[in-house]
Each structure stands twice: as C-alpha cells, then as structure tokens.
Amino acid sequence: MSEWEKTMRFRVKAEVEYSARDILRLVYQALKEKGHNPVDQIVGYLLSGDPAYITSHRDARTLVRRLERDELLAELVRHYLEEEKGA
C-alpha cells in the first residue's frame, strides 16, 4: 500500500470568529491603507450591498460579507447609543 492510499488525518485550521465590531475595524483599516475614504465606502456598502465598495486588500471584502448588513448596522447604532449614554 502506497503512502497515499493510507487513511490520513488532516487538521483544519478553525475559522476565526469575528464580531461586527472587529469586522468594521478591519475593513476601515484596509480601506484607509488603500487611500479610500473609509466612512464613505462603508456607508456605500451598507446602503447598496455592492461589495465593490469594499477593497479586497487584507481580505476586507471577504470579511465584510461574513455578516449581513443589518447586523453591521445594528452594531453601529448600538455603539453610537452607548457612547451617547456615556457622554
């Protein structure tokens, strides 16, 4: 029996869990590094759903699609209201 015919065990790297907050931060950073206006681009994506607003740099486009847009918006609203309460 050749090496390739034996039963093998693969260790698959677990996919990292990202929160909405992590995703927004990472996407913001990637857009900034590519010279875009991050706020305008993220707003454009949230409004239209077109991922072309988000750069592929640092896998930002893949990341932003891990959550639905309403989840990202909910995080933004929640964060804003918490900040307001603390002010």
Partner: protein
C-alpha cells in the same frame, strides 16, 4: 469557405459592420464546431459598460486619469478616438493601462462618424456640458436592439439649467454655471443616471437623482468620480446624491469585472456540460444568473470572493427568465441564456422587459433547429434534443455571443457572420473559449 486570419476590425474605421465586408478580405466569420465540453479557467476582463462612462468622465478631470486592466475592445478604441478628437491625450501603457490627460477642450462636438458606431458616445455630453458649458452631438447609434431614447438624459440636463436645440439630426446643449436640482427618472436608465451624475459633479449645490439605475457600473463610475475628488453618494441605490465641487483632479482607478462576460461563460459551461472556473468576478453582481443556472440544474460554487466555478448538467432543465434592471436578470444575458434553453428539457418562457426589439437572434437560432415562438415581449422556447450547425448572422453584440454558444452545443459547424459586433464587447472571446477546449476559429469568407 472559412480562411483563418489574424486581423482585427480596428483597422477598418467607419464601416457599417452589418453590411460592409472587410476591404480586400471579404466577410469576417467565426466557425464554431459543436460538441466539446468546456473545462478550464477563464480570467474575466474589466467591464465594458463601466470602462466607457469612466473614460467619458475623464473629461471632467484636470489631472491625468490612469485606468488599469482596460479590456481590448472595439468600443474602447472608439471612445479613445472620441476623447482624442475632443482634445485629450490618450496613451496606452503596459499591462492594458490607459492614461488620459485632458489638454483643454478645443472641440465640443462628438463627430457623427464615431457616435453612429457606439451609443455610449453620448456619455461625453454630461462631462462636456459641465466642463465647457456646451456640447453637441448626433443622435447616438449602437446595437439595433430597439429604440433607446435619450430624453431622460436631456430632461436631467434641463433640470440642471441647460438649454437644448435640435437641428439637422444634431442636439446642442448649452448652459454655463449649472445648478443642482432634484431629478426623477421615469425609468432607471443606466446611461441617463451616469450622464446626469457627471454633469452634476461640477454644478453648484446638490443634485438628487431619484429612481436612479442601481447597476454595478453606476457604482463604479461613482467610485471613479469620488477617487478624482467628486462627492457622489448613494450609488447602487435608487437615490444618488451629487454634491457639486469646483474641480476634479485625476486619479488611478481599477475598473470592476465584466458581469456580462462572466455570465456568458457561465452559461457556456452550463450548456456544454462543462466545468469552468471564472476568475476576477464579483459574485454579488451575478446573483440573478447564478439563481437561474441552479434552477436549470447547473452547480455553481463560490470558490472565493473573486472566483466562481460552474459545472453543467448533462442536459439543462427549462427555466423561465424575465429581464429586469439590476439586481434582476440582465437584458444583456437574455440572448445567451436563450441559447441554453433551446436544448433544455421542457418549455421555457423568456420575457424581455427592458428593450423592445431584442429577439433578433430568434430567427437565427431557428435556423439551427431551435423551436421558438415569439408572443409580444415573450419568447416561448421548447427545448429540442439537438441543434445543428448552420450559417447564421449576428445582428448585435449579445446576439453574436448567443450564436457562438448555440454553435458550441450544435452538431457540426456553425458559421457566424456579423462578428464585428462581438469585437465591440468581448475581449479575446475566441481565445478565451479556445483555452477551455472550444473549437472556434476566426476567418474570412469571400
């Protein structure tokens, strides 16, 4: 008799591609041998329908515009000639990069010889009006797929404060110091949305375009305008807001992938029982196509955020298709999709709601043995066991792609004339098909 050549139609300016043969060579023809299962990888080119408006928008910028990955298409060459006529320096650089520098607009008229070749020439009207305060052109040409009035463009220009004059088949638009306005489009026209966006970029105040087109190409134009210093918000939704700025600088920009080219190859894979990986795609732009292909029995897998794989069934199932503005099923893929349905199991209904004269490919498909009946804006397609190769004629760009795809699954050889239409919108179409195993050759016929 087909004879292979390597020439392109770029050398033969000013010909009517439908009726005039290539001088000294005869008619350009594509010969397609049916029966191959397509397999391999195809890198998708940048979108023609995004590149053309961005090229027109470069007239607005003071500094240079550098576009990367520009596709080698007849329409792109036509637009470059138009920009040169208007006073721009247009230089091709390595890796399909195009550099455009506005040298000051000396001419404000788009010549009839170029406008009649390509409808998108009309897109220079908005930038010319914004930059020079006046613009003149003949009524636009393009594919013969029905009446596509320009009244929505003119309505938008008028709302911004421009005056119109029609005489001798030409339109003159004049208006210095345009002002922002609220404009409702009766229909979400892509080119009207784009033309108004460009004109409003240098207007005083804010312009709201309501019932705007939501196509990805509109988003890409907004992306270019913003990268060049403009302020366009809401592109990709039905309300686009443009805040006028004093000037646009140049910028470097990468155009989005061509969703229609991607969709065409996805259909080719599905209808030949093939297995094709498409690279450089935005899967979200293809949702309607993916849904219909899955309904027809194809497997479509998103392999990354820029690649898709399509595996075709042995024989596709019949599906109903209705064309709609984005995010609906694109009218530009109606003809290629119909090619697939001619051999599907069952009866499909294809309804065209965007253009009224877009079934010109039906008679040609019938020559190959397809069973199609037109009823108003719908085509009833009864799938047949087999198509047979025949001499056919492409009447427009997407009809040309449709006939090539039909030829790929037909028995024998299909000879297609009117190939020039395909050159307008598909970069290296034959080469890409050959690389995934299709037997397609270009030649001339005396």
């Amino acid at each position: 008799m087909v004879r292979a050549t390597t020439g392109t139609l770029g050398e033969f300016e000013g010909l009517d591609p439908l009726v005039e043969p290539v001088p000294g060579r005869g008619w350009d023809v594509l010969a397609v041998w049916g029966g191959a299962r397509l397999a391999g990888t195809i890198p998708v080119s940048a979108a023609k329908n995004a590149v053309l408006p961005i090229l027109a928008a470069s007239l607005l910028a003071d500094g240079p515009t550098v576009l990367r990955g520009v596709p080698d298409l007849e329409d792109v060459r036509t637009m470059c000639r138009l920009l040169t006529e208007l006073g721009c320096e247009v230089v091709w650089q390595p890796s399909r990069t195009l550099r455009i520098q506005n040298r000051g607009l000396q001419v404000h008229e788009a010549p009839y010889e170029l406008v009649r070749l390509m409808r998108a020439s009309f897109l220079v009207m908005g930038p010319l009006l914004a930059r020079a305060g006046r613009a003149k052109t003949a009524l636009p040409g393009g594919c013969a797929i029905g009446s596509r009035p320009i009244d929505l463009h003119l309505k938008g220009f008028a709302a911004l404060g421009a005056r119109m004059e029609f005489a001798h088949g030409r339109i003159q638009v004049e208006g210095r110091g345009l002002s922002g306005a609220r404009i409702y489009l009766d229909f979400p026209s892509v080119t009207a949305t784009e033309n108004i966006m460009m004109a409003a970029c240098l207007a005083r105040g804010t312009t709201l375009i309501e019932n705007a087109a939501q196509e990805p190409e509109v988003v890409d134009l907004a992306g270019y305008l913003n990268a060049a210093g403009g302020r366009v918000r809401g592109a990709g939704t039905d309300v686009v807001r443009v805040e006028g700025v004093d000037a646009l600088t140049g910028c470097e920009y990468q155009v989005i992938p061509d969703r229609i080219e991607a969709g065409t190859f996805m259909l080719a894979a599905a209808m030949t029982g093939g297995n094709i990986r498409l690279e450089n795609v935005v899967p979200e732009h293809l949702k309607a196509v993916v849904a219909k292909l899955r309904e027809a029995g194809a497997e479509v897998a998103e392999e990354s955020d820029t690649s898709l794989r399509v595996r075709g069934p042995i024989r596709p199932r019949a599906v109903d298709i209705k064309t709609l503005p984005f995010p609906g099923f694109p009218t530009d893929l109606q003809a290629p999709a119909m090619a697939m349905l001619t051999r599907a199991e069952g009866t499909s209904i294809v309804t065209e709601t965007v253009f009224e004269n877009r079934f010109l490919h039906v008679d040609e498909l019938k020559r190959m043995g397809a069973d199609i009946r037109i009823e108003g804006r719908s085509a009833i397609v009864r799938g047949v066991e087999r198509l047979t190769g025949a001499p056919v004629r492409a009447t427009d760009l997407r009809a040309g792609a449709c006939l090539v795809l039909a030829g790929l699954m037909a028995e024998g050889i299909t000879e297609i004339t009117g190939v020039q239409h395909i050159d307008r919108g598909y970069a290296d179409f034959v080469g890409k098909l050959q690389r995934v195993g299709a037997r397609v050759e270009r030649g001339t016929m005396a």
